[in-house]
Symmetry: C2
Subunit: 191 residues, 2 copies
């Protein structure tokens, strides 16, 4: 008579999906594996999630919100713009080191129709836009934010994919990038 209460939740499903993603890559995020982790049969997941691509979309969404929260928490609007840039870059890299697969997925082609929702997208972008505005002024904030995100995302993606195999210090390369962009912005400010 009484309808059975939910034995799992979308939150648990997303949490276990993220865990599987980091431990085994996207291929390991299987409806069967997620179901087993949350203690339910595969078919039951469809009561909580439309299908597997919606689940992957939810993983990306959760990741966007998390990185946005981390970066916003680390940002100090009262600090010097260059210090804010350094902190932002280090924060993104730290997040990418902790969650490499999820971070790589942030800007990947998912299914044809699948794309990040407007709100999570805004949450992730806000801290970068704020720092870019401080560095380059409000009317140059958007292109500068895109450049900063591209560098920091590209670098960390390559790093966690194991692309830097010619020796040398990867940390030094990252600092070089941050410094070059900061110097470029400083040079332009007077121009």
């Amino acid at each position: 008579m009484s309808p059975t209460p939910a034995r799992t939740s979308r939150e648990r499903i997303v949490a276990e999906g993220l865990s599987l993603l980091e431990s085994g890559g996207l291929d390991a995020v299987t409806m069967a594996a997620v179901a087993e982790r949350v203690g339910v049969k595969p078919a039951s997941l469809y009561k909580h999630v439309r299908d597997r691509s919606a689940l992957v979309g939810a993983l990306v969404e959760a990741t966007a919100v998390a990185i946005g929260r981390d970066l916003a928490a680390d940002d100090d609007p009262a600090a010097a713009p260059r210090a804010r840039l350094t902190s932002l870059a280090h924060g993104y890299r730290a997040f990418a080191t902790a969650h490499p697969r999820a971070t790589a997925l942030l800007f990947a082609h998912l299914g044809e129709g699948v794309s990040l929702g407007a709100e999570p997208s805004r949450a992730a972008a806000a801290p970068v836009l704020a720092v870019a505005a401080a560095l380059a002024g409000p009317d140059r904030a958007l292109p500068v934010a895109r450049v900063l995100t591209a560098f920091v995302h590209g670098f960390t993606t390559m790093e966690s994919a194991g692309a830097f195999r010619l020796g040398g210090s990867v940390d030094e390369a990252f600092e070089t990038g941050v410094a070059l962009l900061a110097d470029g912005l400083a040079g332009r400010r007077g121009a």
Copy 2:
């Protein structure tokens, strides 16, 4: 008596795999789909390729060689370093526009063991290293090349994933990035 001659080849398989990759994403690169394209049954592919992950590895390898060739062909060692950087950045972006899925795969986690061979990796990196050396000197070439690749790869990955949705000119953002990096390098040259 006479053994049957091969009805397909690794080259055709790779070519059709790349075509499927660009038209439908990595999920569309199915042993069945590739086999049908090359006119053979799925099981026969295993005479030419170890398994699906080796096939994907071959797609990445072919892409690395192709982009290395394109970038090297466009580079003019006699040109001014800044012009060479601009040409390199535009060349990478043009390649990524023509082959977005393959370019994104260049620095993706593939299977656990799977990683790009040394030779294709070197072929792809060589033109970037050459331009970086011209811009920053031989002893700073490696970190600078990493920074340039990170920006250009990150930007084009985000662009083809449809990440730039806040309006504004994406072209302008790309030029901003190239100019910032060039300015940063120019400023540092005297330091």
